[in-house]
Symmetry: C2
Protein backbone atom coordinates (compact mmCIF):
# COMPACT_ATOMS: atom_id res chain seq x y z
CA UNK A 1 0.00 0.00 0.00
CA UNK A 2 1.23 3.46 -0.92
CA UNK A 3 -0.75 6.51 0.13
CA UNK A 4 -0.33 10.14 -0.85
CA UNK A 5 -2.00 12.98 1.04
CA UNK A 6 -1.97 16.37 -0.62
CA UNK A 7 -1.60 19.01 2.11
CA UNK A 8 -1.36 21.89 -0.34
CA UNK A 9 -0.95 22.21 -4.10
CA UNK A 10 -1.15 25.88 -4.98
CA UNK A 11 1.52 28.08 -6.45
CA UNK A 12 3.05 31.20 -4.92
CA UNK A 13 1.19 31.83 -1.62
CA UNK A 14 -1.32 30.36 0.79
CA UNK A 15 -4.83 31.79 0.35
CA UNK A 16 -7.85 32.09 2.66
CA UNK A 17 -8.65 28.42 2.34
CA UNK A 18 -5.86 26.79 0.37
CA UNK A 19 -2.22 26.03 0.86
CA UNK A 20 1.01 25.96 -1.14
CA UNK A 21 2.98 22.78 -1.83
CA UNK A 22 3.26 20.04 0.73
CA UNK A 23 2.52 16.30 0.65
CA UNK A 24 2.74 13.27 2.88
CA UNK A 25 3.75 10.04 1.18
CA UNK A 26 3.20 6.86 3.13
CA UNK A 27 5.50 4.24 1.67
CA UNK A 28 7.22 1.18 3.11
CA UNK A 29 5.49 1.88 6.42
CA UNK A 30 7.06 5.33 6.63
CA UNK A 31 5.62 8.84 6.48
CA UNK A 32 7.72 11.01 4.16
CA UNK A 33 6.99 14.75 4.15
CA UNK A 34 7.64 16.32 0.77
CA UNK A 35 7.97 20.11 0.73
CA UNK A 36 6.65 22.19 3.58
CA UNK A 37 4.96 25.46 2.67
CA UNK A 38 3.65 27.91 5.27
CA UNK A 39 0.77 26.30 7.14
CA UNK A 40 1.87 22.69 6.56
CA UNK A 41 1.60 21.94 10.27
CA UNK A 42 -2.00 23.19 10.21
CA UNK A 43 -2.81 20.79 7.37
CA UNK A 44 -1.01 17.92 9.10
CA UNK A 45 -3.25 18.44 12.12
CA UNK A 46 -6.36 18.58 9.98
CA UNK A 47 -5.33 15.31 8.32
CA UNK A 48 -4.66 13.85 11.77
CA UNK A 49 -1.12 12.83 10.82
CA UNK A 50 0.81 11.80 13.91
CA UNK A 51 3.75 14.20 13.97
CA UNK A 52 6.08 11.63 15.51
CA UNK A 53 5.69 9.36 12.47
CA UNK A 54 7.50 11.91 10.30
CA UNK A 55 11.20 11.09 10.35
CA UNK A 56 12.20 12.28 6.88
CA UNK A 57 11.49 15.60 5.18
CA UNK A 58 12.39 16.31 1.56
CA UNK A 59 12.52 19.94 0.39
CA UNK A 60 12.65 20.50 -3.37
CA UNK A 61 13.90 24.10 -3.35
CA UNK A 62 14.15 27.23 -1.25
CA UNK A 63 11.21 29.18 -2.61
CA UNK A 64 8.73 30.18 0.06
CA UNK A 65 5.77 28.25 -1.31
CA UNK A 66 7.77 25.04 -0.78
CA UNK A 67 9.56 25.57 2.52
CA UNK A 68 8.41 28.53 4.65
CA UNK A 69 6.52 26.12 6.91
CA UNK A 70 9.62 24.07 7.74
CA UNK A 71 11.03 26.19 10.57
CA UNK A 72 7.64 26.24 12.30
CA UNK A 73 7.19 22.49 12.01
CA UNK A 74 10.69 21.78 13.35
CA UNK A 75 9.93 24.12 16.25
CA UNK A 76 6.59 22.44 16.98
CA UNK A 77 8.29 19.04 17.11
CA UNK A 78 10.44 20.44 19.96
CA UNK A 79 7.43 21.88 21.76
CA UNK A 80 5.99 18.36 21.66
CA UNK A 81 9.17 17.12 23.34
CA UNK A 82 10.19 14.98 20.37
CA UNK A 83 13.23 12.78 20.95
CA UNK A 84 13.43 10.82 17.66
CA UNK A 85 15.99 11.82 15.10
CA UNK A 86 14.73 13.81 12.12
CA UNK A 87 16.35 13.90 8.68
CA UNK A 88 15.93 16.92 6.41
CA UNK A 89 17.01 16.62 2.77
CA UNK A 90 17.18 19.88 0.82
CA UNK A 91 19.30 22.34 -1.11
CA UNK A 92 22.52 23.71 0.28
CA UNK A 93 21.64 26.68 2.48
CA UNK A 94 18.72 25.08 4.24
CA UNK A 95 20.79 24.29 7.33
CA UNK A 96 22.09 27.85 7.63
CA UNK A 97 18.54 29.26 7.38
CA UNK A 98 17.13 26.95 10.04
CA UNK A 99 20.03 27.25 12.48
CA UNK A 100 20.10 31.05 12.25
CA UNK A 101 16.46 31.24 13.32
CA UNK A 102 16.99 28.73 16.11
CA UNK A 103 19.95 30.79 17.34
CA UNK A 104 18.00 34.05 17.57
CA UNK A 105 15.00 32.30 19.12
CA UNK A 106 17.25 30.39 21.55
CA UNK A 107 15.12 27.48 20.39
CA UNK A 108 17.33 24.50 19.63
CA UNK A 109 15.57 21.26 18.84
CA UNK A 110 14.78 18.73 21.56
CA UNK A 111 15.79 15.95 19.09
CA UNK A 112 18.75 15.20 16.82
CA UNK A 113 18.23 17.13 13.59
CA UNK A 114 20.28 15.84 10.66
CA UNK A 115 20.62 17.90 7.52
CA UNK A 116 21.47 16.28 4.19
CA UNK A 117 22.30 19.18 1.91
CA UNK A 118 22.04 18.61 -1.82
CA UNK A 119 24.01 20.34 -4.56
CA UNK A 120 24.50 17.72 -7.31
CA UNK A 121 23.00 18.22 -10.74
CA UNK A 122 22.65 14.53 -11.61
CA UNK A 123 20.31 11.94 -10.03
CA UNK A 124 21.59 10.80 -6.66
CA UNK A 125 20.50 8.07 -4.27
CA UNK A 126 19.88 9.98 -1.03
CA UNK A 127 18.04 7.42 1.10
CA UNK A 128 17.83 3.65 1.18
CA UNK A 129 16.68 1.03 3.64
CA UNK A 130 15.18 -2.45 3.41
CA UNK A 131 11.80 -1.20 2.20
CA UNK A 132 12.46 1.72 -0.13
CA UNK A 133 14.90 4.04 -1.85
CA UNK A 134 14.76 7.74 -2.67
CA UNK A 135 16.68 9.41 -5.46
CA UNK A 136 16.78 13.02 -6.59
CA UNK A 137 15.30 14.13 -9.92
CA UNK A 138 17.31 17.20 -11.00
CA UNK A 139 14.87 19.90 -12.13
CA UNK A 140 15.37 23.15 -14.00
CA UNK A 141 13.89 26.10 -12.13
CA UNK A 142 14.97 29.62 -11.17
CA UNK A 143 16.88 28.29 -8.17
CA UNK A 144 18.55 24.93 -7.53
CA UNK A 145 15.70 22.38 -7.39
CA UNK A 146 15.22 18.62 -7.10
CA UNK A 147 12.24 16.40 -7.51
CA UNK A 148 12.26 13.10 -5.61
CA UNK A 149 11.69 9.54 -6.81
CA UNK A 150 10.46 7.07 -4.19
CA UNK A 151 10.68 3.36 -5.02
CA UNK A 152 9.43 0.52 -2.88
CA UNK A 153 11.70 -2.51 -2.82
CA UNK A 154 10.33 -5.91 -3.87
CA UNK A 155 8.37 -7.40 -1.03
CA UNK A 156 8.39 -11.01 0.24
CA UNK A 157 5.83 -13.46 -1.19
CA UNK A 158 2.76 -14.07 1.01
CA UNK A 159 2.98 -17.42 2.83
CA UNK A 160 -0.17 -19.59 2.74
CA UNK A 161 0.15 -20.81 6.31
CA UNK A 162 -2.56 -23.47 6.07
CA UNK A 163 -0.71 -25.08 3.10
CA UNK A 164 2.62 -25.11 4.96
CA UNK A 165 0.90 -26.64 7.97
CA UNK A 166 -0.77 -29.30 5.83
CA UNK A 167 2.68 -30.42 4.67
CA UNK A 168 3.89 -30.18 8.27
CA UNK A 169 6.70 -27.80 7.27
CA UNK A 170 8.64 -26.48 10.24
CA UNK A 171 8.18 -22.78 11.02
CA UNK A 172 11.95 -22.34 10.68
CA UNK A 173 11.55 -22.56 6.88
CA UNK A 174 8.84 -19.87 6.62
CA UNK A 175 11.29 -16.99 6.07
CA UNK A 176 13.01 -18.73 3.12
CA UNK A 177 9.65 -19.77 1.65
CA UNK A 178 8.56 -16.11 1.67
CA UNK A 179 11.78 -15.33 -0.21
CA UNK A 180 10.69 -17.78 -2.95
CA UNK A 181 12.46 -21.06 -2.08
CA UNK A 182 10.98 -24.49 -2.88
CA UNK A 183 10.83 -27.00 -0.02
CA UNK A 184 12.06 -30.60 0.00
CA UNK A 185 10.07 -32.69 2.47
CA UNK A 186 11.69 -35.46 4.58
CA UNK A 187 10.24 -38.04 2.15
CA UNK A 188 12.16 -36.34 -0.70
CA UNK A 189 9.12 -34.76 -2.32
CA UNK A 190 9.73 -31.24 -3.60
CA UNK A 191 6.95 -28.70 -2.99
CA UNK A 192 7.27 -25.84 -5.47
CA UNK A 193 7.14 -22.39 -3.90
CA UNK A 194 4.09 -21.37 -5.99
CA UNK A 195 2.05 -23.93 -4.07
CA UNK A 196 2.99 -22.44 -0.70
CA UNK A 197 2.83 -18.71 -1.45
CA UNK A 198 1.10 -16.00 -3.35
CA UNK A 199 3.06 -13.38 -5.25
CA UNK A 200 3.61 -10.09 -3.39
CA UNK A 201 2.18 -6.75 -4.42
CA UNK A 202 4.22 -5.16 -7.15
CA UNK A 203 6.64 -2.64 -5.65
CA UNK A 204 5.29 0.82 -6.33
CA UNK A 205 7.04 4.03 -7.21
CA UNK A 206 6.16 7.70 -6.97
CA UNK A 207 7.86 10.69 -8.57
CA UNK A 208 7.39 14.23 -7.30
CA UNK A 209 8.37 16.94 -9.79
CA UNK A 210 7.81 20.54 -8.75
CA UNK A 211 8.87 23.19 -9.87
CA UNK A 212 10.47 22.87 -13.29
CA UNK A 213 10.42 24.03 -16.84
CA UNK A 214 9.54 21.30 -19.37
CA UNK A 215 12.40 18.79 -19.35
CA UNK A 216 11.74 15.94 -21.81
CA UNK A 217 15.06 14.29 -20.90
CA UNK A 218 13.57 13.60 -17.46
CA UNK A 219 11.40 10.85 -18.98
CA UNK A 220 14.34 8.46 -19.06
CA UNK A 221 14.78 8.57 -15.29
CA UNK A 222 11.02 8.28 -14.76
CA UNK A 223 10.62 5.27 -17.11
CA UNK A 224 7.76 3.01 -15.90
CA UNK A 225 7.35 4.84 -12.60
CA UNK A 226 3.80 4.19 -11.40
CA UNK A 227 2.58 7.57 -10.21
CA UNK A 228 3.86 10.96 -11.24
CA UNK A 229 3.05 14.29 -9.62
CA UNK A 230 4.16 16.97 -12.04
CA UNK A 231 3.65 20.68 -11.67
CA UNK A 232 1.39 22.41 -14.18
CA UNK A 233 1.43 26.04 -13.19
CA UNK A 234 0.12 27.28 -16.52
CA UNK A 235 -2.14 26.40 -19.42
CA UNK A 236 -0.80 26.43 -22.99
CA UNK A 237 -2.10 29.94 -23.66
CA UNK A 238 0.43 31.20 -21.09
CA UNK A 239 3.38 29.14 -22.29
CA UNK A 240 5.38 32.38 -22.65
CA UNK A 241 5.18 32.69 -18.83
CA UNK A 242 6.62 29.18 -18.49
CA UNK A 243 9.75 30.30 -20.26
CA UNK A 244 10.12 33.36 -18.07
CA UNK A 245 9.33 31.72 -14.73
CA UNK A 246 10.68 28.21 -15.50
CA UNK A 247 7.42 26.39 -14.97
CA UNK A 248 5.46 23.85 -17.06
CA UNK A 249 2.05 23.65 -18.66
CA UNK A 250 -0.45 20.85 -18.08
CA UNK A 251 0.22 19.63 -21.62
CA UNK A 252 3.96 19.48 -21.01
CA UNK A 253 3.38 17.49 -17.82
CA UNK A 254 1.26 15.07 -19.85
CA UNK A 255 4.01 14.66 -22.45
CA UNK A 256 6.42 13.69 -19.66
CA UNK A 257 3.84 11.22 -18.31
CA UNK A 258 3.37 9.66 -21.74
CA UNK A 259 7.07 9.45 -22.55
CA UNK A 260 7.77 7.91 -19.12
CA UNK A 261 4.94 5.40 -19.47
CA UNK A 262 3.61 6.15 -15.97
CA UNK A 263 0.26 4.73 -14.87
CA UNK A 264 -1.22 7.94 -13.49
CA UNK A 265 -0.42 11.62 -13.67
CA UNK A 266 -1.35 14.02 -10.87
CA UNK A 267 -1.27 17.71 -11.73
CA UNK A 268 -0.65 20.44 -9.16
CA UNK A 269 1.04 23.78 -8.34
CA UNK A 270 -1.93 25.65 -9.71
CA UNK A 271 -1.80 29.32 -10.51
CA UNK A 272 -4.49 31.55 -8.99
CA UNK A 273 -5.21 33.03 -12.41
CA UNK A 274 -7.44 30.12 -13.51
CA UNK A 275 -10.81 29.84 -11.84
CA UNK A 276 -11.68 26.56 -13.56
CA UNK A 277 -9.08 23.91 -12.79
CA UNK A 278 -10.73 21.41 -15.14
CA UNK A 279 -8.97 23.23 -17.96
CA UNK A 280 -5.70 21.73 -16.72
CA UNK A 281 -7.18 18.24 -16.97
CA UNK A 282 -8.65 18.90 -20.41
CA UNK A 283 -5.29 19.99 -21.80
CA UNK A 284 -3.42 17.08 -20.26
CA UNK A 285 -5.99 14.48 -21.36
CA UNK A 286 -5.40 15.40 -24.98
CA UNK A 287 -1.99 13.75 -24.56
CA UNK A 288 -2.36 11.25 -21.69
CA UNK A 289 -5.38 9.33 -20.46
CA UNK A 290 -5.10 8.93 -16.72
CA UNK A 291 -4.94 12.41 -15.25
CA UNK A 292 -5.96 13.51 -11.74
CA UNK A 293 -5.98 17.01 -10.30
CA UNK A 294 -4.44 17.49 -6.88
CA UNK A 295 -6.51 19.35 -4.33
CA UNK A 296 -5.87 20.24 -0.71
CA UNK A 297 -6.48 17.28 1.62
CA UNK A 298 -7.13 14.86 -1.28
CA UNK A 299 -5.86 11.36 -0.60
CA UNK A 300 -4.58 8.91 -3.21
CA UNK A 301 -4.31 5.31 -2.08
CA UNK A 302 -2.72 2.68 -4.25
CA UNK A 303 -3.15 -0.98 -3.24
CA UNK B 1 -11.69 55.68 15.75
CA UNK B 2 -9.23 53.00 16.73
CA UNK B 3 -9.81 49.41 15.63
CA UNK B 4 -8.02 46.23 16.66
CA UNK B 5 -8.38 42.98 14.74
CA UNK B 6 -7.06 39.86 16.41
CA UNK B 7 -5.59 37.61 13.70
CA UNK B 8 -4.30 35.05 16.18
CA UNK B 9 -3.91 34.90 19.95
CA UNK B 10 -2.66 31.42 20.83
CA UNK B 11 0.63 30.45 22.40
CA UNK B 12 3.30 28.20 20.92
CA UNK B 13 1.94 26.92 17.57
CA UNK B 14 -0.88 27.29 15.09
CA UNK B 15 -3.55 24.59 15.44
CA UNK B 16 -6.14 23.14 13.04
CA UNK B 17 -8.34 26.18 13.32
CA UNK B 18 -6.48 28.77 15.35
CA UNK B 19 -3.42 30.90 14.96
CA UNK B 20 -0.55 32.24 17.06
CA UNK B 21 -0.01 35.93 17.78
CA UNK B 22 -0.76 38.59 15.22
CA UNK B 23 -2.92 41.71 15.27
CA UNK B 24 -3.85 44.58 13.02
CA UNK B 25 -4.26 47.95 14.74
CA UNK B 26 -5.97 50.67 12.74
CA UNK B 27 -4.94 53.98 14.26
CA UNK B 28 -4.54 57.47 12.84
CA UNK B 29 -5.77 56.16 9.49
CA UNK B 30 -2.94 53.61 9.35
CA UNK B 31 -2.87 49.81 9.49
CA UNK B 32 -0.16 48.64 11.86
CA UNK B 33 0.65 44.93 11.87
CA UNK B 34 1.78 43.73 15.30
CA UNK B 35 3.58 40.37 15.35
CA UNK B 36 3.28 37.96 12.46
CA UNK B 37 3.00 34.27 13.34
CA UNK B 38 2.82 31.53 10.73
CA UNK B 39 -0.41 31.89 8.76
CA UNK B 40 -0.84 35.62 9.37
CA UNK B 41 -1.27 36.22 5.64
CA UNK B 42 -4.09 33.67 5.61
CA UNK B 43 -5.86 35.52 8.42
CA UNK B 44 -5.29 38.89 6.72
CA UNK B 45 -7.06 37.54 3.65
CA UNK B 46 -9.93 36.17 5.70
CA UNK B 47 -10.32 39.56 7.38
CA UNK B 48 -10.18 41.21 3.94
CA UNK B 49 -7.36 43.53 4.98
CA UNK B 50 -5.93 45.27 1.93
CA UNK B 51 -2.26 44.21 1.97
CA UNK B 52 -1.09 47.50 0.48
CA UNK B 53 -2.43 49.41 3.49
CA UNK B 54 0.17 47.78 5.73
CA UNK B 55 3.24 49.99 5.76
CA UNK B 56 4.54 49.28 9.27
CA UNK B 57 5.15 45.93 10.97
CA UNK B 58 6.16 45.61 14.62
CA UNK B 59 7.69 42.33 15.82
CA UNK B 60 7.93 41.84 19.58
CA UNK B 61 10.49 39.03 19.60
CA UNK B 62 12.03 36.27 17.53
CA UNK B 63 10.05 33.30 18.82
CA UNK B 64 8.24 31.43 16.08
CA UNK B 65 4.74 32.01 17.36
CA UNK B 66 5.32 35.75 16.88
CA UNK B 67 7.25 36.01 13.63
CA UNK B 68 7.44 32.85 11.48
CA UNK B 69 4.80 34.33 9.15
CA UNK B 70 6.86 37.44 8.40
CA UNK B 71 9.07 36.05 5.62
CA UNK B 72 6.02 34.69 3.79
CA UNK B 73 4.11 37.95 4.06
CA UNK B 74 7.08 39.99 2.80
CA UNK B 75 7.38 37.56 -0.10
CA UNK B 76 3.68 37.77 -0.92
CA UNK B 77 3.90 41.58 -1.03
CA UNK B 78 6.51 41.15 -3.79
CA UNK B 79 4.36 38.66 -5.69
CA UNK B 80 1.63 41.31 -5.63
CA UNK B 81 4.10 43.73 -7.25
CA UNK B 82 4.13 46.08 -4.27
CA UNK B 83 6.06 49.30 -4.78
CA UNK B 84 5.38 51.16 -1.48
CA UNK B 85 8.05 51.24 1.15
CA UNK B 86 7.60 48.90 4.11
CA UNK B 87 9.03 49.43 7.59
CA UNK B 88 9.78 46.48 9.87
CA UNK B 89 10.56 47.15 13.53
CA UNK B 90 11.95 44.22 15.50
CA UNK B 91 14.82 42.78 17.51
CA UNK B 92 18.36 42.83 16.21
CA UNK B 93 18.79 39.77 14.00
CA UNK B 94 15.51 40.09 12.14
CA UNK B 95 17.19 41.66 9.12
CA UNK B 96 19.80 38.89 8.87
CA UNK B 97 17.10 36.19 9.02
CA UNK B 98 14.96 37.78 6.31
CA UNK B 99 17.81 38.65 3.96
CA UNK B 100 19.36 35.19 4.21
CA UNK B 101 16.12 33.57 3.04
CA UNK B 102 15.69 36.12 0.25
CA UNK B 103 19.26 35.40 -0.88
CA UNK B 104 18.77 31.63 -1.15
CA UNK B 105 15.36 32.05 -2.79
CA UNK B 106 16.73 34.72 -5.17
CA UNK B 107 13.61 36.54 -4.08
CA UNK B 108 14.44 40.15 -3.29
CA UNK B 109 11.51 42.42 -2.55
CA UNK B 110 9.86 44.46 -5.30
CA UNK B 111 9.63 47.37 -2.83
CA UNK B 112 11.98 49.24 -0.47
CA UNK B 113 12.17 47.24 2.75
CA UNK B 114 13.47 49.23 5.73
CA UNK B 115 14.50 47.45 8.89
CA UNK B 116 14.55 49.25 12.24
CA UNK B 117 16.40 46.90 14.56
CA UNK B 118 15.84 47.31 18.28
CA UNK B 119 18.26 46.48 21.07
CA UNK B 120 17.58 49.05 23.81
CA UNK B 121 16.32 47.98 27.21
CA UNK B 122 14.53 51.23 28.04
CA UNK B 123 11.40 52.68 26.40
CA UNK B 124 12.20 54.25 23.06
CA UNK B 125 10.18 56.36 20.63
CA UNK B 126 10.46 54.38 17.38
CA UNK B 127 7.81 56.00 15.19
CA UNK B 128 6.12 59.39 15.08
CA UNK B 129 4.11 61.36 12.58
CA UNK B 130 1.34 63.97 12.74
CA UNK B 131 -1.29 61.44 13.88
CA UNK B 132 0.41 59.02 16.24
CA UNK B 133 3.52 57.86 18.03
CA UNK B 134 4.84 54.40 18.86
CA UNK B 135 7.18 53.61 21.71
CA UNK B 136 8.68 50.32 22.88
CA UNK B 137 7.68 48.69 26.15
CA UNK B 138 10.69 46.67 27.32
CA UNK B 139 9.50 43.21 28.39
CA UNK B 140 11.19 40.41 30.29
CA UNK B 141 11.06 37.13 28.38
CA UNK B 142 13.46 34.32 27.46
CA UNK B 143 14.76 36.32 24.52
CA UNK B 144 14.98 40.08 23.91
CA UNK B 145 11.37 41.28 23.69
CA UNK B 146 9.45 44.55 23.37
CA UNK B 147 5.82 45.43 23.67
CA UNK B 148 4.58 48.47 21.77
CA UNK B 149 2.61 51.50 22.93
CA UNK B 150 0.59 53.29 20.28
CA UNK B 151 -0.70 56.79 21.09
CA UNK B 152 -2.93 58.91 18.90
CA UNK B 153 -2.07 62.60 18.89
CA UNK B 154 -4.73 65.18 19.84
CA UNK B 155 -7.06 65.75 16.92
CA UNK B 156 -8.51 69.06 15.64
CA UNK B 157 -11.89 70.22 16.92
CA UNK B 158 -14.85 69.48 14.62
CA UNK B 159 -16.00 72.61 12.76
CA UNK B 160 -19.76 73.27 12.70
CA UNK B 161 -19.85 74.51 9.12
CA UNK B 162 -23.43 75.78 9.22
CA UNK B 163 -22.54 78.01 12.21
CA UNK B 164 -19.47 79.42 10.46
CA UNK B 165 -21.56 80.10 7.36
CA UNK B 166 -24.28 81.82 9.42
CA UNK B 167 -21.63 84.29 10.66
CA UNK B 168 -20.30 84.58 7.09
CA UNK B 169 -16.82 83.59 8.24
CA UNK B 170 -14.38 83.21 5.36
CA UNK B 171 -13.23 79.67 4.64
CA UNK B 172 -9.61 80.85 5.10
CA UNK B 173 -10.22 80.87 8.88
CA UNK B 174 -11.56 77.29 9.12
CA UNK B 175 -8.17 75.70 9.79
CA UNK B 176 -7.41 77.99 12.76
CA UNK B 177 -10.96 77.55 14.10
CA UNK B 178 -10.41 73.78 14.12
CA UNK B 179 -7.25 74.40 16.11
CA UNK B 180 -9.38 76.20 18.78
CA UNK B 181 -9.09 79.90 17.91
CA UNK B 182 -11.89 82.39 18.59
CA UNK B 183 -12.98 84.60 15.67
CA UNK B 184 -13.40 88.40 15.64
CA UNK B 185 -15.99 89.44 13.06
CA UNK B 186 -15.57 92.63 10.98
CA UNK B 187 -18.07 94.37 13.31
CA UNK B 188 -15.71 93.63 16.19
CA UNK B 189 -17.89 90.93 17.79
CA UNK B 190 -15.89 87.99 19.14
CA UNK B 191 -17.33 84.53 18.49
CA UNK B 192 -15.94 82.07 21.04
CA UNK B 193 -14.56 78.89 19.54
CA UNK B 194 -16.97 76.71 21.53
CA UNK B 195 -19.83 78.18 19.49
CA UNK B 196 -18.22 77.19 16.18
CA UNK B 197 -16.84 73.76 17.00
CA UNK B 198 -17.34 70.58 18.89
CA UNK B 199 -14.54 69.02 20.89
CA UNK B 200 -12.57 66.26 19.11
CA UNK B 201 -12.55 62.63 20.15
CA UNK B 202 -10.10 61.99 22.96
CA UNK B 203 -6.83 60.68 21.56
CA UNK B 204 -6.69 56.97 22.24
CA UNK B 205 -3.84 54.73 23.18
CA UNK B 206 -3.18 51.00 22.93
CA UNK B 207 -0.50 48.93 24.60
CA UNK B 208 0.52 45.48 23.33
CA UNK B 209 2.42 43.38 25.87
CA UNK B 210 3.36 39.84 24.84
CA UNK B 211 5.33 37.83 25.97
CA UNK B 212 6.58 38.73 29.43
CA UNK B 213 6.92 37.62 33.00
CA UNK B 214 4.96 39.76 35.49
CA UNK B 215 6.59 43.19 35.54
CA UNK B 216 4.79 45.53 37.97
CA UNK B 217 7.22 48.37 37.14
CA UNK B 218 5.66 48.43 33.66
CA UNK B 219 2.54 50.10 35.10
CA UNK B 220 4.29 53.45 35.24
CA UNK B 221 4.84 53.55 31.50
CA UNK B 222 1.29 52.35 30.86
CA UNK B 223 -0.33 54.93 33.19
CA UNK B 224 -3.83 55.88 31.90
CA UNK B 225 -3.37 54.08 28.58
CA UNK B 226 -6.87 53.26 27.29
CA UNK B 227 -6.60 49.68 26.08
CA UNK B 228 -4.12 47.08 27.17
CA UNK B 229 -3.50 43.70 25.53
CA UNK B 230 -1.50 41.66 28.01
CA UNK B 231 -0.46 38.05 27.64
CA UNK B 232 -1.94 35.57 30.10
CA UNK B 233 -0.44 32.26 29.11
CA UNK B 234 -1.25 30.56 32.42
CA UNK B 235 -3.76 30.45 35.26
CA UNK B 236 -2.60 30.93 38.86
CA UNK B 237 -2.42 27.19 39.50
CA UNK B 238 0.46 27.05 37.00
CA UNK B 239 2.33 30.10 38.27
CA UNK B 240 5.43 27.92 38.69
CA UNK B 241 5.48 27.57 34.89
CA UNK B 242 5.41 31.37 34.57
CA UNK B 243 8.68 31.58 36.43
CA UNK B 244 10.28 28.93 34.25
CA UNK B 245 9.00 30.15 30.89
CA UNK B 246 8.84 33.87 31.69
CA UNK B 247 5.16 34.27 31.05
CA UNK B 248 2.29 35.82 33.08
CA UNK B 249 -0.97 34.64 34.59
CA UNK B 250 -4.35 36.23 33.93
CA UNK B 251 -4.32 37.59 37.47
CA UNK B 252 -0.92 39.21 36.97
CA UNK B 253 -2.16 40.83 33.76
CA UNK B 254 -5.12 42.20 35.72
CA UNK B 255 -2.82 43.65 38.39
CA UNK B 256 -0.92 45.52 35.66
CA UNK B 257 -4.23 46.77 34.24
CA UNK B 258 -5.37 48.00 37.64
CA UNK B 259 -2.08 49.66 38.55
CA UNK B 260 -1.96 51.36 35.14
CA UNK B 261 -5.56 52.53 35.39
CA UNK B 262 -6.39 51.36 31.87
CA UNK B 263 -10.01 51.34 30.66
CA UNK B 264 -10.04 47.82 29.26
CA UNK B 265 -7.85 44.76 29.47
CA UNK B 266 -7.68 42.21 26.66
CA UNK B 267 -6.19 38.84 27.54
CA UNK B 268 -4.45 36.59 25.01
CA UNK B 269 -1.57 34.21 24.24
CA UNK B 270 -3.59 31.31 25.54
CA UNK B 271 -2.04 27.97 26.37
CA UNK B 272 -3.59 24.87 24.77
CA UNK B 273 -3.77 23.19 28.21
CA UNK B 274 -6.99 24.98 29.21
CA UNK B 275 -10.14 23.93 27.45
CA UNK B 276 -12.28 26.58 29.13
CA UNK B 277 -10.93 30.06 28.43
CA UNK B 278 -13.51 31.68 30.70
CA UNK B 279 -11.23 30.68 33.57
CA UNK B 280 -8.79 33.35 32.42
CA UNK B 281 -11.53 35.96 32.62
CA UNK B 282 -12.71 34.78 36.02
CA UNK B 283 -9.24 35.08 37.51
CA UNK B 284 -8.63 38.51 36.02
CA UNK B 285 -12.04 39.88 37.02
CA UNK B 286 -11.24 39.24 40.66
CA UNK B 287 -8.74 42.11 40.32
CA UNK B 288 -9.99 44.28 37.44
CA UNK B 289 -13.51 44.86 36.12
CA UNK B 290 -13.31 45.36 32.37
CA UNK B 291 -11.74 42.23 30.93
CA UNK B 292 -12.14 40.84 27.40
CA UNK B 293 -10.74 37.63 25.98
CA UNK B 294 -9.04 37.82 22.61
CA UNK B 295 -10.14 35.30 20.00
CA UNK B 296 -9.10 34.77 16.40
CA UNK B 297 -10.78 37.25 14.04
CA UNK B 298 -12.41 39.20 16.91
CA UNK B 299 -12.61 42.93 16.25
CA UNK B 300 -12.47 45.67 18.90
CA UNK B 301 -13.62 49.07 17.73
CA UNK B 302 -13.25 52.11 19.96
CA UNK B 303 -15.06 55.32 18.91
Amino acid sequence: MMKLQILGCHAATPRSNSFATSQILEIGGKMMLIDCAEGTQIQLRRQKVKFSRIKHIFISHLHGDHFFGLIGLLNTFSLHGRKEELHVFGPKGIKEIILLQQKYGKAWTSYPLRFHELDKKTPELIFEDSTLSVETIPLDHRVYTNGFLFREKPKDRTLLVEKAEAYDIDIAYYKSIKKGKDITLSNGKVIPNEELTEPPEDPKSYAFCSDTRYQPEMAKQLKDVHFLYHESTFLEKHSDLCEKTKHSTAKEAAVIAKKSNVKELILGHFSARYKNREKYREEAEMIFADVSLASDRKVFEWK
